[in-house]
């Protein structure tokens, strides 16, 4: 089952914690100091990393859902 990563750029404060936790899912716009979500539908193999990036975000800008609940 795939999972869906939701990102609210308006909450993002540029901490880059997400990028640290899951470089497969995130990139970073260094000019505007905001995270970039490169994959919003993520295979189950990246679940642990996706979840770590969500809880590692001090600004609560990231949530992770199962695709079936969406």
């Amino acid at each position: 089952m795939a999972i869906i990563v939701k990102f609210d750029p308006s909450k993002c404060q540029g901490y880059a914690n997400c990028l640290i936790e899951a470089p497969e899912i995130w990139d970073f716009d260094e000019d505007n100091d905001v995270a970039l979500l490169i994959q919003d539908v993520v295979p189950d193999s990246l679940r642990v990393k996706a979840e770590a990036s969500a809880r590692g975000c001090p600004a609560h800008a990231i949530t992770v859902e199962n695709q079936s609940d969406a």
């Binding site: 880059a16 914690n17 990028l19 640290i20 260094e30 100091d33 809880r55």
Partner: protein, 397 residues
């Protein structure tokens, strides 16, 4: 296990609760905290909360309803005073006894005090650890006034930057030869330049030997061999110590924190520790460490919950920390101390500083360079050699 008590109502404690419930723990959970507030986030206290307002609601880690949803009994404003691991009991300040099957120690750290001994009226000195401290500090941040900060650590420098941005005159005093010297060694000079360029008076290599109350409020600060400063406001920011007073004499192993094995269990199998208070053996670095960083409290809280429920995995982590000062967003991964090998690469308003020891890359400080940070973290995890790291740095410059 049917009844878990979590002592310390803050980041590590809340994440331990979340970790317990996510693993299907259905028993009773009691959260004991010394402060009256619901658990809140500390990093903003030295940054935006000082400009935008210290509001318990906005800083809350979880909404009030969350505790009810999770079935958590809150005992806030009630510090734990003593513990008996053998009989699995603890006592609150009021004398009340709580029994437990499992205990999470998450009492964090408290601001170290040094300057109050030098001052006839210590009530005039501020420190910054709690929301109440931040409220008190913010109430006194008046543009045009002079703030003297003792201690050029991360928190002291953040407050200096915030206060300067608000229009105060700011002086920072530290005994070391550069800011953040304990961690960054010479590389701390970068922060000295940053602050000086913004008009902060950085005085390194000196200390404070007397602080005298001034009749109109504030204090007079005397430093050996330097001119005397009149301060409207004095912030003491000389580091933190693990909050273990309540455990002294309990028999739980303590040594600059609560001593834990690699899986975060303490010397007693049904007691785990997490966050600023926990000293554990981090197998990734092959050393015992205690980490006072936000992300560590989140991840250790969750890991400790697993350990309490019988999981035996080691907690292996690469410490991660961020600090915002003026326009500089500095992020640090790994380990560093002044004794490491250091290479510095500077851009216009960015910098990457690498720390190595025994031929291996151990840590990296990236200022305004988040992508590089992510690369460095992988390199540390993969055990990149120091020579490769240094040449990699040169090629991507």
């Amino acid at each position: 296990m049917r009844n878990v008590v979590v002592v310390g109502a803050s980041l590590a404690g809340v994440n331990a609760i979340e970790g317990l419930r996510e693993r299907g723990f259905m028993g009773q959970i009691t959260l004991v905290g010394a402060e009256h507030h619901l658990p809140y986030d500390r990093p903003p206290l030295s940054k935006e909360a000082l400009t935008d307002g210290v509001e318990a609601g906005r800083l809350a880690l979880r909404p009030a309803a969350w505790y009810e949803e999770q079935g958590v009994t809150l005992r806030l404003g009630e510090p734990a005073r003593a513990l008996d691991p053998a009989t699995k009991r603890l006592w609150l300040d009021s004398g009340e006894q709580l029994d437990f099957d499992g205990l999470v120690v998450a009492t964090g750290s408290s601001a170290r005090r040094f300057a109050h001994r030098l001052c006839g009226d210590p009530a005039r000195l501020c420190q910054l650890r709690t929301l109440d401290d931040a409220q008190r500090l913010r109430d006194q941040l008046e543009p045009g006034h002079r703030l003297v900060v003792l201690g050029a650590g991360f928190i002291g420098l953040e407050v200096a930057a915030t206060a300067r941005t608000l229009g105060l005159e700011v002086t920072v005093i530290d005994v070391a030869t550069s800011p953040l010297a304990r961690v960054l060694g010479e590389a701390g000079g970068w922060f000295s330049e940053l602050h000086t360029a913004q008009g902060v008076d950085i005085r390194c290599g000196t200390s404070v030997d007397r602080i005298e109350p001034r009749s109109g409020g504030g204090v007079i600060v005397r430093s050996p061999g330097r001119d005397t400063l009149k301060a409207d406001l004095f912030l003491e920011s000389v580091g933190a110590t693990p909050a273990v007073d309540w455990l002294i004499g309990s028999g739980l192993a303590l040594q600059d924190g609560v001593v834990c094995g690699p899986d975060l269990r303490t010397s007693h199998p049904d007691i785990v520790a997490a966050g600023d208070v926990a000293r554990w053996h981090n197998e990734l670095f092959g050393e015992s460490m205690r980490v006072e960083h936000w992300t560590n409290a989140v991840e250790q809280g969750r890991h400790a919950a697993g350990a309490l429920l019988g999981e035996r995995e080691s907690y292996r982590s690469i410490p991660y920390f961020w600090t915002d000062q003026f326009a500089a967003k500095a992020r640090f991964v790994g380990r560093a101390d002044a004794a490491d090998d250091i290479v510095v690469e500077r851009g216009d308003d960015s910098a990457v500083i690498l720390f190595g020891r025994d031929g291996r890359l151990r840590g990296a400080l990236c200022i305004n360079a988040p992508r590089r940070l992510a690369r460095c973290r992988l390199a540390i995890r993969d055990g990149m050699s120091w020579a490769d790291a240094a040449s990699d740095l040169a090629t991507c410059a």
